[in-house]
Subunit: 325 residues, 2 copies
């Protein structure tokens, strides 16, 4: 099977041109027709074997995750998904692997009406690079995109869904921790099949003052939001400890805090909103079908503190994931 | 040096927001503000060490080439470059390498006013994935983008610049052929520092009926254009044999034909235009500062023939490059 046959068989689909797509796969460039009065939101993520996923991961889960981590960036910006490109470096043309990968990829793409419009296929160490395109309205000259830089002192800090379970699964798969089989299964779903919070991102436009997605762990990611917004944060330890989905009794409160703050691969949204918007935030979560949890508030004092039930700061140094540190 | 410091030091530049870029590096998504009345042209190319370039290649040349091959796709579509994303997998954070790579990358980006707006950096086998964005006007509801599918029987076939030299250099670097030092140096420039024909692509809008860029060799690439346009082609052997820049006497006519037809890495434009447009095509080439050569014409008979000076077809099977064949 040659390169062009591979593309034709697994990635080129005889679908009608979708909304916003003027020309899809097969020419030197794809062509998007932007909706008047919108900006185009763009993000790109690269997944490398042995670094972002295990060599024996289910290819269907990998196809899902490769697109999910990109859609998560559109969600964080409040952008509606339109299209994506896929560049794929493969050690060999393994038909079973390609079929599974394409199945996982297109199931998620179809759920978000996000069209594959082009890309590249080459031979080499397994590497998946997806670039996504979404639209955000501009109203009265003002973009409705959610940025990291809009948070204000006094705003509440919120997260969607559950945090820490993906890292728990990673520790178990790396042999650092032994988990009961059913706990591992639940946590592994979170690691391998994250759910991009696209509907929530759209619902939060006009409500959230700042937003970002959580990929490298809450402590480090929040640090970027605080830096962009020039403020600090006080987090509540009890709210953080409630965030892992895993009900396993083998997890101490310290374990939970460490997984939540220093974890990664959560692909939930972190966002800020004024206290007056609490009902609106809960309504947005309900509309999107995802729980939202208030985890603290933004303060003028720079840096990040985790406070116990008595309002006293807990000691602790929480490191985010860094590929080169 | 951590991941974010690496991005800050080598890839984030304190430039004013460029035309069309509403938000650059540093948030979950970048934001482009499309010019009203345009479509967005998008292309993505992935370069893998050992496959697309030698491990010891000059990083500055590599930075140039990684962007050049993408700009070449915009050129083939007649799109004006606006912005690009860069996803980079690196075995280590080598400062000298990064500085050289960034120098080559930004020199070409600046020459085309193409802004780096985001991307990803991770650890892994060296892999460079760039996605470029350009604009094409839509006039009276009709896109001015150049496609592969618009060629008509009777049109002339043209190529820009010179062909075959990049493959000649590759053969020498792989030890398959010995070249005089000055011949290798000239040919190697073509392999390592291709010039994307952006100005020519823009000049050909409204003149060319179809266009594509040459990356896998003329014979195979032309096959895609013929398939998209449902026609065949008769090429003139003498025109083809004149295409390598290399004046070396060690190259026979057969060598030249083989390098031109079965080569690759040329990044020149292949395009069609009605015979009535010959003067306009030559004027477009002159405006863009690149020679254009008429190499044959499009015919109704499917397939590709190379004709000698007497109009007789030459025997020969010309294979294009395929990563998985």
């Amino acid at each position: 099977m040659g390169e062009f046959e591979l593309i034709r068989r697994y990635f080129q689909r005889p679908t009608a041109p979708a909304s916003g797509v003027a020309l899809g796969i097969g020419d030197d460039c794809a062509l998007l027709q932007p909706t008047p009065g919108t900006q185009m939101a763009i993000s790109s993520d690269m997944l490398v074997e042995g670094r972002h996923f295990f060599p024996d991961v289910d290819p269907e889960a990998l196809g899902h995750k490769a697109l999910a981590v990109n859609l998560s960036d559109l969600a964080a910006s409040g952008a509606r998904p339109v299209a994506f490109t896929l560049a794929l470096s493969l050690p060999r043309a393994d038909e079973a692997w390609l079929a599974g990968f394409a199945r996982g990829l297109f199931a998620l793409a179809d759920a978000h009406q996000c069209t594959l419009i082009g890309g590249d296929t080459t031979k080499g160490p397994l590497n998946i690079c997806i670039t996504v395109f979404g639209e955000v309205p501009v109203e009265n000259g003002r973009s409705l995109a959610l940025l990291r830089s809009g948070a204000q002192v006094g705003d509440d800090l919120w997260v969607s869904g559950t945090l820490g379970d993906a890292r728990l699964a990673l520790h178990a798969l790396q042999g650092q921790r032994v988990l009961p089989a059913e706990v591992l299964q639940t946590a592994r779903q979170r690691l391998e099949r994250p759910t991009p919070r696209v509907a929530l991102g759209l619902s939060l436009r006009g409500i959230a003052t700042a937003a970002m997605d959580l990929s490298d762990g809450l402590a480090g990611d929040l640090g970027h939001l605080l830096q962009a917004s020039s403020c600090g944060a006080d987090l509540q330890a009890d709210a953080l400890a409630s965030l892992p989905a895993c009900p396993w009794k083998g997890l101490s409160t310290d374990d939970r805090l460490s997984l939540v703050l220093g974890g990664g691969d959560d692909y939930e949204l972190l966002f800020s909103a004024p206290p007056a918007q609490q009902a609106a935030v809960r309504a947005a979560g309900a509309t999107a079908g995802v729980p939202v949890t208030r985890i603290g508030r933004l303060v003028a004092t720079p840096g990040l503190r985790v406070l116990d039930a008595q309002g006293q700061p807990l000691p602790g140094h929480f490191q985010s994931y860094d590929h080169f540190a």
